[in-house]
Symmetry: C2
Subunit: 173 residues, 2 copies
DNA sequence: TCCTAAGTGGACGATCAGCTTCCGCTTACT
DNA sequence: AGTAAGCGGAAGCTGATCGTCCACTTAGGA
């Protein structure tokens, strides 16, 4: 692949992440192309259809999410803080990637990788007695899904409230 | 208005509530008509455009919501239970009506009526020390909005968790 | 019962947004 | 300098929804 082509490919993926974050996984392809400063033709040349693009998006960024999870796990004072930090990060910084990763058709193994890591942390947080025991990894994933699939939902206010809903003894009350 | 016409009008409103709950305020008009067992022509005769329909929907059902709120207020053991019961009811039973009522353009006074009643209850719940003091009526309304504007979000699991996020001392932990 | 104005359904043409192709021009690399 | 790869974006296509229109039906009064 020619160097300029590779550059464009990267620009497209970056733009796609932002646009998907804002408009969901069915955002117009042309919007993605324009955001990347590229013609639609170029986009279609690299990614023959939307699913290919989403799969590439997931693949490209999912390790970033896993890294974030690992980083949160080692940086945080405890497992529950790590879970919270990861969710905030995923929703705030990588919403498009999360959406792509969770979009059923593309990259199921990407989703799986996330789930497994998360599962460990959640179990730990519950063992610590910090996270309520009647919820689970699936709830955290669903939480991500709510934001990933509903670009209209602004996380600023709700994410903290929802996280408090998972907390055993919510802070600051 | 002829008796059959009135009957159809009612069927349309009922269908609209369901369809709006499922598909959001921009659901296809034809879907509403078919659900009501009526032709599109009939729908357009009664409601020249979508906003008229939404406004009628809001007007028709908003008092139902206010009643539900009042009922919850008098039936519940306390204000906070009443707020929870109302939100659950509104989201479960009247999602379409809520969506219509909150859809900015139509019926701002309908929204207002809800807010005022709710405001009293929320203040009470906080005074009781049952609801965390750093949230407000606006948060509860936003909560309704999340479900009203995002038909994809299934309330079953999330609504309780989110409500727990507003709770001062969440139950069952 | 009969008459008529109100009501009805749904086909139809208009519109629109997004998808995808195509091709003449440009550019990176040899 | 030559050439194949790459590029942009115009243009045609498609499918979905809108809103109108009119020939047919029916409620309800005389």
């Amino acid at each position: 692949m020619r160097a300029d082509a590779r550059r464009n490919r990267d620009k497209i993926l970056e733009a796609a992440r932002d646009v998907v974050a804002e408009r969901g996984t069915d955002a117009p392809m042309e919007l993605i192309a324009r955001r990347a400063g590229v013609g639609v033709g170029t986009l279609y040349r690299r990614f023959p259809d939307r699913n290919v693009l989403l799969a590439a998006l997931a693949e490209q960024y999912v390790h970033e999410l896993v890294d974030a999870l690992d980083h949160a796990a080692s940086a945080g004072p405890d497992a529950w803080s790590a879970v919270r930090a990861f969710v905030v990060h995923a929703v705030d910084e990588s919403r498009g990637a999360v959406a792509a990763a969770l979009a059923g058709t593309s990259a199921p193994e990407a989703r799986q990788a996330l789930v497994e890591r998360l599962d460990v942390l959640v179990g730990q947080a519950q063992a610590d007695g910090a996270m309520r025991p009647d919820v689970g990894t699936a709830d955290v994933m669903d939480l991500l899904n709510v934001f990933a699939c509903n670009p209209g939902v602004i996380p600023e206010r709700f994410l903290p409230l929802m996280l408090d809903g998972l907390d055993r003894r919510p802070p600051g009350r």
